[in-house]
């Protein structure tokens, strides 16, 4: 099903999304990958606040290319989500239930998604030039020293995504392939 959604990703909205849905997402999202997640989870362990309000937030696993003069941001496609598996349950536990990336997730991430009504969206890996066009503003909010891995606040409009794993644990990687092989 094709759906246009606007953030925040409330529990109700999250639960309405199903694996295999095509989604056009509009709203504010936050970028983070390996090093940023490590810092955020260490901050939470120390009882400190995150650089943004995680409640109903969506995190985009991306390290964008630098912006050329006149660009909002450089090419910005998803990175492999599995590297954030160690941190994702902690991020969901404080409310950040949306993740945008590509590639397989561990069972413990899927379990956390069921527990916290999480949604794992896939953006097309390698389509960084196209995805950058949906990003209307970008603001660096923390970890500037991490360069491409710094924490950025983005406003996106109609970002084309697929629901890969939904809040019930249904997984497009499993069903999409099985459906194809069954039809063959």
């Amino acid at each position: 099903m094709e759906k246009h959604i606007t953030l925040p990703l409330t529990e109700e909205l999250a639960r309405s999304l199903k694996a295999g849905d095509t989604v056009y997402l509009t709203g504010t999202i936050y970028t983070s990958r390996d090093a940023g997640h490590k810092r955020m989870c260490e901050a939470l362990a120390r009882g400190e606040a995150l650089p943004f309000d995680p409640q109903d937030a969506v995190i985009y696993y991306v390290g964008p290319a630098p912006a050329k003069p006149g660009q909002v941001i450089g090419s910005a496609g998803p990175t492999t989500a599995g590297r954030m598996d160690a941190y994702a349950p902690t991020m969901m536990s404080v409310g950040a239930r949306g993740m945008i990336g590509k590639g397989a997730r561990l069972p413990e991430v899927v379990e956390a998604m069921k527990k916290y009504s999480g949604v794992y969206f896939g953006a097309i890996g390698g389509a960084g030039a196209l995805l950058a066009k949906c990003i209307k503003s970008a603001e660096l909010i923390a970890f500037e020293d991490l360069g491409a891995e710094a924490l950025r606040k983005l406003y996106v409009e109609d970002m084309p995504l697929f629901v890969i794993i939904d809040s019930e644990g249904n997984n497009l990687y499993e069903t999409g392939r099985a459906d194809y092989l069954a039809q063959k």
Partner: protein, 280 residues
């Protein structure tokens, strides 16, 4: 003997870094378009449409096709009658990478130490491969290599008794393990023979070979075709969402090897398989 200034090497490497990252090679575009024409699932078609739209945007606007502009793999085939003047060749190549990644607004993705990390800030050093060949030309190829796919690569030291079937099973196993992670449709580079290290280099060279140029040995050309069909029968499909197109190409490179062994390396690349060559 021909003298070549290393400054010229810097200029060419800079230009190739930028061009390789912004303009997808024609053979890769062709392969993606013909796979799009064959897909019948709506999700697979939609993904391939967006992939094609993406490289057209990059081409038109001179922006990186993918934000992972990779480690700069630089291959130099140096004619034995060439004498480099004006400085250090290695430093000249790194300077070309430094300028290309800075002036081209490409992402700097290299850490200075594999364990202690720390971004070098300019995407240096290049992964430099040199080969001495007859003549007085220098052939420079820059192939930026992203790590979403590099991480799904594998190498195995087979006993000769494993035979061709062992190689075939290893290719399927590696693509199966890679699944959706390397941004399929992927390009599969297979290196068979040589030593442990040479097999890996062959696999990397295999992904640099145009997809419309088969192995010159008919035995391996047939094997490339057969294994591409088998890989595509897995049904992983574009982005792993299911479909006919798991890989758009599978190239095999080989070398003689030892009586006791049969090394095999598989280098996985994504649909943004980039390389650009210039001959001086």
């Amino acid at each position: 003997m021909r003298e070549i200034s290393v400054n010229l090497i810097t200029d060419v490497v800079e230009r190739l870094c930028i061009e390789a990252n912004t303009h997808l090679p024609g053979d890769v575009q062709c392969a993606l378009e013909s796979c799009r024409a064959c897909e019948d699932g709506s999700i697979a078609q939609g993904v391939l449409d967006k992939i094609i739209e993406n490289y057209n945007i990059a081409d038109r606007e001179n922006v990186p096709i993918c934000q992972d502009t990779g480690m700069a793999c630089v291959f130099l085939e140096i004619g034995q009658d060439v004498h480099f003047v004006g400085g250090d060749l290695r430093e000249a190549v790194d300077e070309g990478v430094r300028r290309g990644y800075t002036n081209g607004y490409l992402r700097k993705s290299v850490v200075g130490d594999p364990v202690r990390r720390g971004n070098t800030g300019d995407n240096t050093p290049a992964m430099l491969y040199t080969e001495i060949v007859p003549g007085e030309n220098v052939k420079i190829t820059v192939g930026p290599k992203g790590f979403g796919s590099e991480n799904m690569s594998a190498i195995r030291m087979f006993k000769p008794s494993a035979g061709l079937q062992g190689i075939k099973d290893f290719i399927i196993e590696t693509v199966e393990n890679a699944g959706p992670n390397p941004c399929p449709p992927m390009v599969v580079g297979v290196g068979i023979g040589g030593t442990f290290d040479k097999a890996a280099l062959l696999a990397k060279k295999a992904i640099m070979r145009p997809l419309d140029v088969p192995n010159p040995d008919p035995f391996y050309a047939d094997l490339e075709k057969e294994m591409l069909e088998k890989v595509n029968a897995l049904g992983i499909g574009p982005q792993g969402f299911g479909g006919k197109t798991t890989a758009i190409g599978l190239n095999i490179e080989t070398l003689p090897t030892h009586i006791a062994g049969m090394p095999c390396a598989i280098n996985i690349n994504c649909h943004v398989t980039r390389h650009k060559t210039e001959v001086l």
